[in-house]
Assembly symmetry: C2
C-alpha cells in the first residue's frame, strides 16, 4: 500500500530534507519515526529536497508499507515519535502510481524578508533581515520578467546536474505587510537554489542596485554570475506541492 504524507517542519536544526552523513535530516527523522510506530524500515521519498535551514509547511512524501496502522492514523502514530519541530500534518492512502517527486505538477515557495532596523527575535529563524528602504514597485516590475517559461540557468547554483534548466513560473507575487516582505512563487519546478537566487535578485531590484529591466538581461545571459547572491536559507518555506493541474 502506498501512503502519501504531508509534512511541516522548522528546518533550523536539520541538515535539510535529504539523509546525509554530516547531521540529522528530516527524511531520516521521518523514516525513524515510521519504524518506531510500525516496526518497518521503509524509504520515504519527498517531493523536493529542501536545504539546511529551509522550512516546509506543505512538503509531500510517499512510502510503501503493509503496516496494519490505518493510513489516516499514521500521522498521529508518527508524530508520537517525532520532535516538536517536525509534524506529519496528514497521511492518506494514495494510488500505487502516486509519486511524490515525479507526480508533482507545481510547487509554491514563500520567501520572507524582515525589513527593519534590527533583525527579529521572534522570527529570527523564519525570515532574512534586510535594512533600509525597499521599492516594492521596482520588485514587482522585475518579477514580471521572471514569470513565464524561461531557461533559468542564471538562477541555478553551479554544479547542479539537470537535463534542462527551462522551467515555468506561473505566479510571482510580492506582498508587503510591514515589517515583512514576502515573495510568493509558484512554478512547474525549481532548480537548485533557484527561489533563493530569485529572492536575492528581486531584493537588489527593490534596493535599486539593479534596474527592473536588468532581470531580462540576466535571464538571457544564461550565466549564474549575472544574478544576485543567494538569499539566506532561513527565509524560505516550501508552502505547497500540487499533483493536479486544477489545484492551482
Amino acid at each position: 500500500m502506498r501512503i502519501k504524507l504531508n509534512v511541516e517542519y522548522d528546518g533550523t536544526n536539520y541538515v535539510g530534507w535529504q539523509r546525509q552523513k554530516n547531521g540529522t535530516s528530516v527524511q531520516q527523522m521521518l523514516e525513524d519515526a515510521f519504524f518506531a510506530a510500525s516496526g518497518q524500515r521503509v524509504g520515504i521519498t519527498g517531493a523536493g529536497r529542501t536545504d539546511a535551514g529551509v522550512h516546509a509547511q506543505g512538503q509531500a512524501a510517499h512510502l510503501d508499507t503493509d503496516t496494519t496502522i490505518p493510513p489516516e492514523k499514521l500521522s498521529f502514530a508518527m508524530n508520537a515519535h517525532l520532535p516538536a519541530d517536525i509534524k506529519v500534518t496528514n497521511s492518506q492512502e494514495a494510488g500505487g502510481d502516486f509519486h511524490a517527486r515525479y507526480g508533482a505538477v507545481a510547487k509554491t515557495y514563500i520567501y520572507t524578508y524582515y525589513n527593519a532596523q534590527h533583525s527579529s527575535a521572534i522570527y529570527r529563524n523564519t525570515t532574512a533581515h534586510v535594512r533600509g528602504e525597499i521599492d516594492v514597485g521596482a520588485m514587482k516590475q522585475a518579477a514580471q520578467h521572471i514569470t513565464g517559461t524561461h531557461d533559468f540557468l542564471s538562477f541555478c547554483a553551479s554544479g547542479s546536474e539537470v537535463n534542462t534548466t527551462t522551467r515555468t513560473v506561473y505566479r510571482l507575487d510580492i506582498v508587503r505587510e510591514k515589517p515583512f516582505l514576502r515573495i510568493e512563487i509558484t512554478g512547474s519546478g525549481f532548480l537548485y537554489n533557484m527561489v533563493r537566487i530569485i529572492a536575492g535578485t528581486l531584493l537588489d531590484a527593490g534596493k535599486g542596485k539593479i534596474a527592473a529591466d536588468d532581470v531580462k538581461k540576466i535571464i538571457e545571459g544564461r550565466d549564474r554570475s549575472l544574478a544576485s547572491p543567494t538569499a539566506p536559507a532561513r527565509g524560505l518555506v516550501m508552502k505547497q506541492v500540487y499533483y493536479d493541474d486544477a489545484e492551482f
Copy 2:
C-alpha cells in the same frame, strides 16, 4: 538621562520578564547587555511583567544613565551583547518624567491559537494548539461582554495583590486566518493572567462548552473558578504599549 527602550523577545527560553533566582529573565539579559555596552550597572524597568514563555513584540522599558553612547545608538550597542531571541528594536531619550510602567495608558496583547488536527512545527513556540470546530461567531458574541469597564476579578489568577480589579477593555477582536485564530485585546491594563484566562474562556465559548451569554455571569460572579482554565503562555504576545491616549 532617561532612556526609553522598545524590546522584542521570544520568551520560550526565559523565566519571564522579571529577574528571578530560578533562571534567566529578559530583564537580566538586558541589564547585562547594557553593562557590557556601557560599563554601567543600571536597573531596567519594564511596562509589564510577562510570564515564562510569553513573548513581546513591543515591550517598553526605561533606564537612567549618563553613558556617552548616543540614545539612538544604544539599541545597536545592546544588541551586540544580546542573544538572537532578544532585540532592542528602538532606543531614544525620554523626558525625566517618563515611566515605562506607570506612564502606560494602554496595552495591546495578541493571543494566537493554532486550530488544526496536529500542532504546528514552525509555530510551536508562538501558538497554542486546539483541535476541532470553533464557532468564531460565538466567540465574538462572548467578547462583547468583556469589552468595557468591569471588575475582572474572575479573570485574575488568585493570589495576586492589586488595589483594584477593575479594568477597561477598549477593543477585543477575534480574527480567523486558518489555521490561526487570533484574539487581539487592548485595555487600560491587565490583571495577572487576565489575557490568558480571557483567551481560555473565549475558546470555551467557541467550542460550545459555555454559552456566549455565560460570560456576563462569569464577570458578575467575581470568582476565578467561574472562568475557564488559563490558556498556555506560548500563545501570548505583548504587542504594544501606549503612553499617549491619541495613539490607540
